[in-house]
Symmetry: C2
DNA sequence: ACAAATTGAATTGTGCGCAATTAATATGGT
DNA sequence: ACCATATTAATTGCGCACAATTCAATTTGT
């Protein structure tokens, strides 16, 4: 009665474990982020913009997209909502009118303090040792790197 | 120059590693599932229904939702699309008119053969040892279990 | 200098996820 | 039998994700 080796069994799928765990984590964030008035993807955007402030970097839609692996189809409307909420400003760069630069407002920067407890709370919710979570995170990063590099089995010859 | 310990740094977030890895894996599935005419969530539904056939179980919208952690708001339109494609039938149970039973058509059952290579291909794409993937899967399941059980830090006293 | 190619963002359209509401059916207590 | 309550799907509305297209601004090649 050990684990079946059926390659199509749901319980054997890494992809489903990933899919389900991701939604469970996102769900845990939802209640916490509700207090900030942010959705989960908006929170990730704010994390990147807070980092950029600290490093005195100017983020653009494309650099944000590279960091989060999201395209303008996702980011443009999301950023417009954050702008409408008064958390950031979008403006065209003078040097290149194609690029849209993102600048946090004072309110957007101040929210960083309110967010400090969010990852801490999630760590507590997980109930797992920090070492386990770090290991899991690094394994996921490794998987991501593998999938983002062109894999041998991907290309088909002309 | 080792890893920062800023709790808000994006690279320190397990949640982002999970989010990014999940989308990368889903993206890899997309091209393969395109050949079957399935989206990734539709593929997961088919996995469950193929299992149910083998075990001679009758799946309903709610039992499917329990397995995949999805509600009727997601499943109802998805199932209607699969029905429109001729892969399954939805019908009210005679014993309880509230429940909708799901039955694969012969075409839906036959697709299982076409899908056999999908997880195999993904395994190859990952380029990682099977043992690593199994360990990662089990860690994700553990995290999921933790988050689904009511955690001590969740409830607020009246 | 000018045509062609490239780049950056926005737009459009489809399909999830999920909260909240609604409607129909079933169940349990009296 | 009657009624309040539970349960099961469906519906509605919003916000992602992502493919495909469009458009303007810029860069490249000659």
């Amino acid at each position: 009665m050990a684990g079946s080796i059926d390659p199509l069994a749901l319980d054997n799928q890494l992809c489903f474990a990933l899919y389900a765990a991701n939604r469970a984590v996102t769900g845990r964030y939802r209640a916490l982020l509700d207090e900030l008035g942010l959705t989960y993807p908006q929170y990730l955007v704010m994390l990147v913009l807070w980092e950029a402030v600290q490093q005195e970097q100017v983020m653009t839609v494309s650099s944000l997209g590279q960091r989060l692996r999201l395209d303008s189809g996702t980011l443009t409307p999301l950023l417009k909502r954050l702008e409408a909420r008064g958390l950031l400003q979008r403006r065209r760069a003078a040097s290149d009118e194609r690029v849209v630069q993102l600048a946090l407002t004072p309110e957007g920067q101040a929210m960083r303090q309110q967010a400090q407890h969010v990852p801490v709370q999630l760590f507590c919710d997980s109930g797992l040792p920090l070492g386990d979570l770090v290991q899991l995170r690094e394994q996921l990063k490794g998987l991501l790197r593998r999938l983002e590099s062109d894999c041998p089995s991907a290309e088909s010859p002309a």
